[in-house]
């Protein structure tokens, strides 16, 4: 297995003994540098863009898009932990995302807008996710990966129906709108005069809370995948039989990876609910969100945490702005004779998912390591 050797080589080069003590930046990134100039530039652009989004891109829509990117970076990275690093396909990932969002939503609806309620909601949601993911993992990760994919699909469907049925608790199909602690609301202002044309209100604070939380969670995940534990996960992905033979209990590692991914997804869900001040089945639980996450992981690059950043940013930008571009293209194309109607329908803004689906299939075929893998390959080809 090529990948196994590559992983082993990575491990040996990353061993701290034969390297000088890494700098602060490298330590923050757990010694996993982008390893490609283009990738590094892209990442820095995304990070700067997100960090100064309220000042760079004025308007409520732009800020919403930036916040959504932050949440999805965490969610997609947690899914990558499972899919890209451990080689497990789960279709229940949005279930945990939804648990996190509902945890916040239910706690804040019942207990009112207080930080205690936020803590309680997050704690409850994380506990539920840990139990659920451990049970599902222990029950079905013993068998083949394909079993797990199907079982999680069924469980997620059942959970979604359950969430919309228990309308007294979850608000059913309508979802729950709730108040967040006052300091995070637009009405709260901590400085009278706007700074650089941006009013310093609770919304801005909420955005930076999201930014800090997302950055922390992402760095923790980067640390996990570059730890010895992460190496075992990659070994299991490459050859589970061999990993078991070396002496690692693959069931235990797979289940742990599953639980970890679930916890991070739950936290991402909590962040989303805090930002939106609303949660419903369609925003966090639906199968469409699951497919979006799958597309982001694959397009960004499976098995690379940076892929989550790129994938989430690209996908959500496309989701939010590609439709406008397609609308222009569609009206232009439908003016053509004969084929105009068909082309117009194919490129209509509602069909943007069609093209991302095609892109998804092509990327699984031709560059399974996604954008990140592609950029890194460009760089590593020259010295070989």
């Amino acid at each position: 297995m090529n990948g196994a050797q590559a992983a082993a080589r990575d491990a040996s080069t990353a061993a701290p003994t034969d390297l000088p003590r890494p700098g602060l930046a490298a330590r923050l990134l757990s010694n996993e540098l982008p390893r490609s100039r283009a990738l590094a530039v892209l990442l820095v652009l995304i990070v700067l863009g997100l960090a100064f989004a309220p000042f760079l891109f004025p308007g409520a829509k732009a800020l919403n898009v930036a916040a959504k990117i932050l949440v999805f970076i965490v969610l997609v990275a947690s899914y990558d932990l499972l899919l890209g690093y451990t080689g497990i396909v789960s279709f229940a990932h949005t279930m945990f995302f939804g648990i996190g969002a509902y945890g916040i939503a239910i706690a804040l609806t019942r207990l009112g807008p207080a930080w205690g309620a936020v803590a309680l909601g997050v704690a409850g949601a994380v506990a539920l996710s840990i139990v659920l993911s451990a049970v599902i993992g222990l029950f079905s990760l013993r068998v083949r990966a394909i079993f797990y994919a199907m079982i999680t699909l069924a469980v997620a469907a059942a959970f979604q129906t359950l969430a919309s049925q228990l309308s007294e608790i979850t608000g059913g199909e309508d979802g729950l709108s709730f108040k967040v602690p006052e300091i995070l609301t637009p009405a709260f202002s901590f400085a009278g005069a706007p700074f650089l044309g941006v009013s310093l209100d609770g919304r801005l604070l909420a955005y930076y809370l999201l930014l800090v939380a997302a950055a922390l969670l992402f760095l923790v995940m980067l640390r996990i995948v570059n730890s010895p534990f992460g190496r075992v996960l990659q070994a299991i992905r490459e050859n589970d039989f061999r990993a078991e033979a070396i002496g690692y209990r693959t069931v235990v590692y797979r289940t742990l990876s599953n639980v970890l991914a679930a916890v991070f997804a739950t936290l991402a869900g909590a962040l989303l609910a805090l930002w939106l001040r609303y949660n419903g089945p369609d925003t966090s639980l639906s199968f469409e969100v699951m497919l979006d996450v799958l597309l982001m992981v694959v397009i960004g690059g499976m098995g690379t945490m940076y892929g989550a950043v790129i994938g989430a940013a690209l996908f959500i930008l496309a989701q939010s702005y590609l439709q406008d571009v397609m609308r222009i293209g569609s009206t232009a194309l439908s003016g053509l004779p004969f084929v105009g109607e068909i082309l117009g329908a194919l490129f209509s803004p509602d069909r943007w998912l069609l093209w991302l689906g095609v892109l998804f299939i092509l990327s699984v075929y031709y560059f399974p390591a996604g954008v990140v893998g592609r950029l890194r390959a460009v760089k590593s080809r020259s010295p070989r």
Binding site: L83, G87, V89, F139, V143, R144, A145, I146, F147, A149, M150, I151, L153, A154, V155, A157, A158, T161, L162, Q165, F287, L291, L294, V298, A345, L346, S348, D350, R351, L353, L354, L356, G357, V358, F360, I361, V364, Y365, P368
Partner: protein, 340 residues
Amino acid sequence: MSSAGASAPVHEALPQVRADWLPVALVPALALAALPLVGSPSTWLTLTVAGLAMGLIVFIIASGLTLVFGLMDVLNFGHGVFIALGAFLATTVLASMETWTASPNVLVNFAAVLAAMLVAMAAAGAVGLAFERVVIRPVYGQHLKQILITMGGMIVGEELIKVIWGPQQIPLPLPTGFRGAILVGDAAIEKYRLIAVAIGLVVLAAMLWVFGRTKVGLLIRAGVQDREMVESLGYRIRRLFVGVFVAGSALAGLGGVMWGLYQQNVVPQIGAQVNVLIFIVIIIGGLGSIGGCFVGALLVGMLANYAGFLAPKVALFSNILLMVGVLLWRPQGLYPVAKR
């Protein structure tokens, strides 16, 4: 069940393998257990027929999927596309034959539905052939990629259906002659459910004949048990697989027509919805086993109807609970396929 390779003695000299009837007995056992719970026999009869109809439709859809998995270890998450395609073609065909479907003569109605079924099967089979070529062939033997690619195929297929038929829900009314119910004692049984049961039984009989009495069927059964052995005897299992894939897609198209008529409306998400159900069925049955798929489909269909009547809240989980229960009893499904 024929796929267990158990029922028909091929040669007198061969030792008879003991048939495993225990899972089959679950179906009447479930029906009998539900009788005292439901209470009135007429309601029970209505529910049982509804369950059988649903189970047989699900069986028609799922049989292709489980065989494809058994034969080539390919799990097609895009199976739902063929279901949706069949259902949407049915709306077009039946709408264009309005004079036939509105006719009070049941035979004329049936001719219209038959035409819709044939169109759906032909189209789903053709799309299946292309799907196998374009989507599945490049990723043989790589499970992870298979799951991802077929899921991508599902997304694209669903979007293309939206391009052609639009994203909205389309009503698919039953032909006049199929509507209404007949009374058996006190029990009202919808006509279409009886028709669905009849069609399902015809398909089942045809399958049993193919698998039990023809050489192709024998090869498929042998291929499921041990692919390499069949190959080493000089048969091209690839070709067999393509045939099974196309037939499975066509059956999914047929099932899509029947499911659409059962629900009386069609949405583009129909494929994804039914996918969940058929995955549960083939897991319960044992991946690759036709007999298990049949028993699993009947169990799922009947349990869904009983649970929907007795405790609607539990009904959401009844299928999952059934799956958990079966897997605790037999971790590889009701009829484990030998080598897996």
